[in-house]
């Protein structure tokens, strides 16, 4: 690990200002992903700003009947919140499908959204990776791509976003609240928060330098049957090969977002219009334009079958 200086942030605005002005500064909250990457020197911040004492650890009801989740609410506490379990079951399900109990106790809501890909070539510092070292190339293109993206990828990057929570946040139309170094706040729809790789896969979100996430809000509940179905190499503590977050209504309509297939949570609203016609028709629109590689072409039928299982589960409930 490279040496770094450390400070505890005293206010959100000051933290944002310091992050924008201090050389090589980064925020740290749960640290479960950042420290892992720092040990491998994939991340090498020169200054760490510990934001753990800024509050942002409550889940409050909003005026329009939704929930405002503080950026520092731990994954365990978000999954266990009675209102989340009752009204946003897909979110609770996605959270407990991810990581281990120890990690969920430390990992935060904002940190979960900001976690980096688990592409093996991003992790291997001896390999080229445009995300780790812009302009160096993408070793995954000619490498083992079994876990990697099938849609929305580019010739510069075929990494996937690893989060389960973010897939549920996408299906729930969550919004990300931030504060910038000048103290101004803004709200970013989750659909616009994560980016596709394009030519700049090292830029992963819409956040500007120093911008700090303060909360994630959920609109009022939409009812329906909430399902998070995750397919992985082992039954627990593994990243998704494919996952489906679904909120399905009795009349066959609904919303779906898919994980494990793209650089961001993958949702296509036009595909949802096909839900009453079934998984095949829906997947045809959802994955239109997919560019799988020989190693990961299995993900296309796997999405369809996982969605079919989710639809069947909703009908049986």
């Amino acid at each position: 690990m490279k040496p770094f200086t450390y400070e505890r942030a005293t206010s959100p605005k000051d933290a944002a200002a310091k992050a924008a002005s201090a050389k090589g500064a980064k925020f740290i909250a749960g640290g479960t992903n950042l420290l892992d990457l720092m040990k491998l020197e994939i991340e090498a911040p020169e200054h760490l700003i510990d934001v753990n004492h800024l509050g942002f650890d409550a889940i409050d009801e909003t005026a329009d009947g939704g929930l405002r989740i503080g950026a520092l609410v731990r994954n365990t506490d978000l999954a266990a919140d009675k209102r989340v379990r009752r009204d946003y079951g897909v979110l609770s399900r996605a959270l407990v499908a991810g990581a281990s109990g120890q990690l969920r106790n430390k990992a935060t809501t904002a940190g979960n959204l900001l976690q980096r890909t688990r592409c093996p070539y991003f992790y291997d510092v001896n390999m080229p990776c445009n995300k780790r070292k812009p302009g160096s190339g993408c070793a995954a293109l000619g490498g083992v791509s079994r876990q990697l993206a099938v849609i929305g990828s580019s010739d510069a990057c075929i990494a996937t976003h690893p989060s389960d929570m973010a897939i549920a946040m996408r299906v729930l139309d969550a919004q990300v609240e931030t504060i910038n170094p000048k103290g101004a706040t803004r709200t970013i729809p989750i659909a616009e928060f994560h980016r596709l790789p394009g030519d700049t896969p090292h830029i992963e979100t819409a956040l500007q330098p120093g911008e700090l996430i303060t909360a994630v809000t959920l609109p009022k509940p939409i009812g329906g049957t909430h399902i998070y179905r995750k397919v992985r190499d082992r039954a627990s503590y593994a990243f998704a090969l494919v996952s489906v977050a679904a909120v399905l209504q009795k009349d066959g309509t609904g919303r779906i977002a898919v994980g494990g297939v793209a650089h961001k949570p993958w949702r296509v609203e036009a595909a949802e219009a096909q839900l009453p016609r079934g998984a095949r028709a829906t997947t045809a629109v959802l994955l239109d334009g997919a560019r799988p590689r020989p190693d990961n072409a299995y993900k296309l039928p796997l999405v369809e079958r996982t969605l079919a299982a989710a639809i069947a589960e909703a009908k049986a409930s």
């Binding site: 040990k39 760490l48 510990d50 266990a80 609770s92 109990g101 120890q102 990690l103 106790n105 627990s236």
Partner: protein, 212 residues
């Protein structure tokens, strides 16, 4: 076991001596590098926390993890370093009532925290019920993962009692049942390469008063 009968030179002392010997042997080779690019002194910071009920205060290189602080600075070597990346769970300790991977946490971030390690759960003379159950059910073979397994197991039972749902909870709007399916799922962050899992599950079930 009678711990007073252990030989004076422990395996740990032998390892320490070996490491010092290696450092001396390589010193000649590293001198040129050191003089060519003198390294800046890595930043340090002070942190105070309570470990197993005792207040401690240490000054550390900011890079020091909670695990390395416990093992190398406070000499509480029960918590183990397996992968050092949060994948194996050997470093599991309980901080402010919650189990965490101490390898994925910086010590300087634990100002004022209450830390409980395996040494704080029980002693050879006065075992924690979970430690006693691991002994009774043979919940280990080599023992390396065991401190992490026990810290995790104690926390898992509390998490189920607190109503925290898991991936295998059928109805997440209800309190999860205190059964072996729940316990096994929740222990997935603790790897045991000897494969003592079924005995660990039996030990946990006994402490929980559940059927294995």
């Amino acid at each position: 076991m009678n711990y007073t009968s252990l030989p004076k030179a422990s395996r740990r002392d032998v390892l320490k001596t070996g490491a010092a010997g290696a450092a001396v042997a390589s010193a000649g080779g590293s001198t040129a590098l050191a003089s060519a690019a003198p390294a800046a002194v890595p930043p340090r910071a002070k942190v105070g926390m309570t470990v197993n009920g005792k207040p401690v205060s240490v000054e550390l290189d900011t890079r020091t993890t909670l695990l390395d602080t416990l093992r190398e600075h406070l000499h509480l070597t029960g918590s183990k370093k397996g992968c050092d990346h949060g994948q194996c769970g050997a470093c599991t300790v309980i901080v402010n009532g919650r189990r965490i991977n101490s390898c994925l946490s910086l010590a300087v971030m634990h100002e004022g925290d209450q830390v409980t390690t395996i040494e704080g759960l029980g002693s050879p003379e006065n075992l924690h019920p979970m430690q006693a159950a691991f002994v009774k059910h043979d919940g280990y073979q080599c023992g390396y993962c065991t401190p992490g397994q026990i810290c995790s197991a104690v926390s898992v039972l509390e998490e189920i009692r607190a109503g925290i749902p898991s991936h295998v909870t059928k109805d997440i709007t209800q309190a999860p049942p205190l059964d072996t399916t729940e316990m096994r799922e929740r222990m997935s962050g603790n790897i045991c390469r000897c494969g003592a899992y079924s005995n660990i599950a039996e030990a946990m079930a006994e402490v929980a008063g559940a059927k294995a």
